[in-house]
């Protein structure tokens, strides 16, 4: 039982570091990192494209992909090692996660040769950024309840409807969209999968303002948008099967950082700095035990990540333990934010630090409800753990046998 690289892994890591040292600057590890839910600002898109091109030219892009599409056919562990090391440097935030992790593999699995050739190499190079257009206002956890329609018109399809929670839509060239092509078919059978030009006429992108005030996502409205049939992925009516491929590739939390910007050390520091009943809060037994409980969960999540990584390193698929990560982290983050506010007494509700308050806790309290939804709600994660990991029976289904148009869905008006 150890945390050390195998000799092969160590050699690969050294090679990665050598290249990164030559091409990027080490980050100050104590400097605060941007909150994962905050919107990246400024000209980061161009910077991200430049960095992707640099990696591509040096052979460090899309490490896991087949060489024929521009990848390196590296092992999963090599890819993790690259990501770990890259994370230590000042590099632009990636805008390719969804494309490289989910959409590229979907095209590989379901695309025609022409589609693969047209789209994949550009995706690696990075001059075309991709987004995913699945969720709708009336189809969130129940994704297959989507209503955006695609109607055949000659060699084109005409798309109408609304998608939501689309990350990065504002700078993307392509989107992968699931639409309903047959409302008379049963729910999962009437769907088809398309590649849509985000710059086409009739595509309207509007940022969604979150409750915290940040805007990381978009709504995308489609009004008579034409998509050539050549950009249909897989057969008409096969959209759900294709979408499943995409979702199966949804990147797991391995190596990713979870939770807001606040940590156990911050909590200790806060408790040392504020007073409860004229004594430092850190001397209060209840405060102490609560900090211990947060620390235990935090380390439990950290080493859960290590266990997944270890499975990868051993050539296995990470076990189901990885699925608990976001569920536990988001709830804990919410509790930590609330606790940090409580410790500050009346001052806990202040948003800026001008009065000696530390607003990081409040920011966490405002951000965590979003994390509890993004990429699957707590409830969906618990369903997944219960049904897929543990094997408990699914819910009774009311939406399996009727034509989709006869199933109530979304919000009754």
């Amino acid at each position: 039982m150890d945390f050390n690289d195998s000799p092969e892994e160590a050699a690969y890591r050294a090679k990665v570091r050598e290249w990164l040292d030559a091409n990027a600057t080490l980050r100050d590890p104590d400097a605060p990192r941007a909150n994962m839910l905050d919107e990246a600002e400024g000209d980061y898109v161009q910077k991200a494209k430049d960095w992707q091109l640099t990696k591509h030219e040096a052979g460090w892009a899309c490490l896991r992909w087949p060489k024929e599409f521009g990848g390196q056919e590296a092992t999963a562990m090599e890819s993790v090692i690259f990501n770990q090391e890259e994370g230590r440097y000042e590099v632009p935030p990636s805008i390719y996660g969804i494309g490289h992790g989910m959409l590229g593999p979907t095209i590989m699995a379901h695309g025609t040769d022409d589609q693969k050739k047209r789209f994949l190499p550009n995706m690696v190079k990075g001059d075309e950024v991709w987004c995913q257009l699945f969720s709708e206002p009336d189809a969130g956890s129940d994704l297959a309840g989507l209503k955006t329609s695609a109607v055949k018109d000659g060699d084109d399809w005409i798309i109408n409807g609304q998608k939501i929670w689309t990350t990065g839509a504002q700078f993307c060239k392509w989107g992968m969209l699931v639409a309903r092509t047959d409302p008379n078919a049963v729910k999962h059978a009437g769907l088809t999968y398309f590649i849509v030009d985000m710059e086409a006429e009739g595509v309207d992108i509007r940022p969604i303002k979150q409750m915290s005030g940040a805007s990381g996502f978009n709504e995308v409205f489609f009004s008579d948008v034409r998509v050539p049939d050549a950009n249909r992925l897989d057969a008409v009516g096969n959209g759900w099967r294709v979408a499943i491929t995409t979702l199966m590739n949804e990147r797991s939390s391995i190596g990713g950082s979870l939770g807001g910007g606040v940590g156990i050390k911050d909590l200790v520091k806060l408790a040392q700095g504020v007073e409860i009943n004229d004594k430092p809060a850190i001397e209060d037994g209840g405060v102490r035990r609560k900090i211990a409980d947060f620390a235990v969960r935090r380390s439990g999540l950290k080493y859960t990540g290590q266990r997944s990584l270890s499975a990868l390193s051993q050539g296995a698929t990470p076990g189901p333990e990885a699925s608990i990560g976001k569920l536990v982290a988001a709830i804990m983050g919410l509790e930590m934010g609330e606790f940090g506010m409580e410790l500050q007494g009346a001052g806990g509700i202040l948003t800026s630090d001008e009065a000696g308050a530390d607003p990081a806790w409040q920011h966490t309290y405002m951000a965590m409800p979003g994390l509890r939804h993004a990429g699957g709600t707590d409830e969906i994660l618990r369903n997944i753990i219960a049904e897929r990991v543990l094997g408990m029976p699914g819910e009774p289904r009311m939406d399996k046998e009727k034509p989709f148009k006869d199933i109530p869905s979304g919000t009754a008006r």
């Binding site: 969604i208 504020v274 009943n277 409580e342 202040l350 800026s352 009065a355 707590d378 409830e379 009311m398």
Partner: protein, 369 residues
Amino acid sequence: MNFDFSEEQKLLQQTAKEFLEENSSLVHVREIFEADAGYSKALWKGAAELGWLGVSIPEEYGGAGFGYLEAAMIAGEIGAYLAPIPFSSTVYLAAEAIKRAGDDAQKTKYLTGIASGDLVGTMATTEKVGSLTEKSINATFDGSKLSGTKLPVCDGDEADFAIVLAKEGSGLSLVVVDLDAAGVERKKLQSLDPTRAQAQLTFNDASATRLGAAGEGWDLAQDVLTRAAVLMAFEQLGCADRAFQITFDFMMNRYAFGRPIASFQSLKHRMADLYADREVARSNCYWAAWALENDHEELREAAASAKISASDALDHTTVEMIQMHGGVGYTWEYDCHLFYRRGKVLAHTLGTTDEWREKLVTKLIEDAA
């Protein structure tokens, strides 16, 4: 026995509800919120006209001369409609402090001004982050001049006067200070809910008059906070009730997998738990209202119990409100976050929940002795 509000009191509540439904819509709350406008002058004027501001101010000072039970009924609706007005600061705190400790001149000036809607008041106790204690007070009063800094002061940027806790000699006193006077500096502080805006007040030899006897400020302030906590608990409960109802309506009308999401058992059970939380809080609130109205010896215990359970029920409800709404629940556009923000601010107003727990257990230990 009749451990309930009277028909007249319930009628008053109904009237308040109807008025606020009309005049404190969530659209209006959002206007005040987004403009960072402090409070709704129009709504304040309406509240004054309905006699709410003087609800428990004696008639001789222009008030309605009702008791606390009537105030509790209004407070509940203020909470339900997230009314963007300095009601708690003015009515629960400032008016109460003047009523309990003011001399004739102070009562005439401030109570009459409050009842008519001309004066907004507040109380300023805390000076820094952390819990409020006697030792944490550094502001000073020398018999006529007040110096020091108070933060956060709810409605401090908008109030006309404040009741301030300050050192006087070796003890603490409560003093009244007009906030437009010389030597008073106000600074607005950014906070979680701009419709319950916070400020920093700095006093440099500002003219002030003492409220009650010298050295009795701490006990007086605690007494006022205890009484205010009862009304605040009703405000919180009203807020939780409405947040719950909005969530419930959403769940009944939102379909997923061919079913209303209200039919999913794990959500139903969580709604049942929220219901239980609120009933526990409601019962404590009733107890506290009874103790307040009757000035009963159980008031300290009952007020703390009401405040704690109402804060917990409201926190729990607003967190679940967002979660039950799914993705839209955390958008700016939906109203969930207005309740989430207001709920948290109310939980931190008049002392945090942990501070009330400390007060309650102190009383329980005294009783057990």
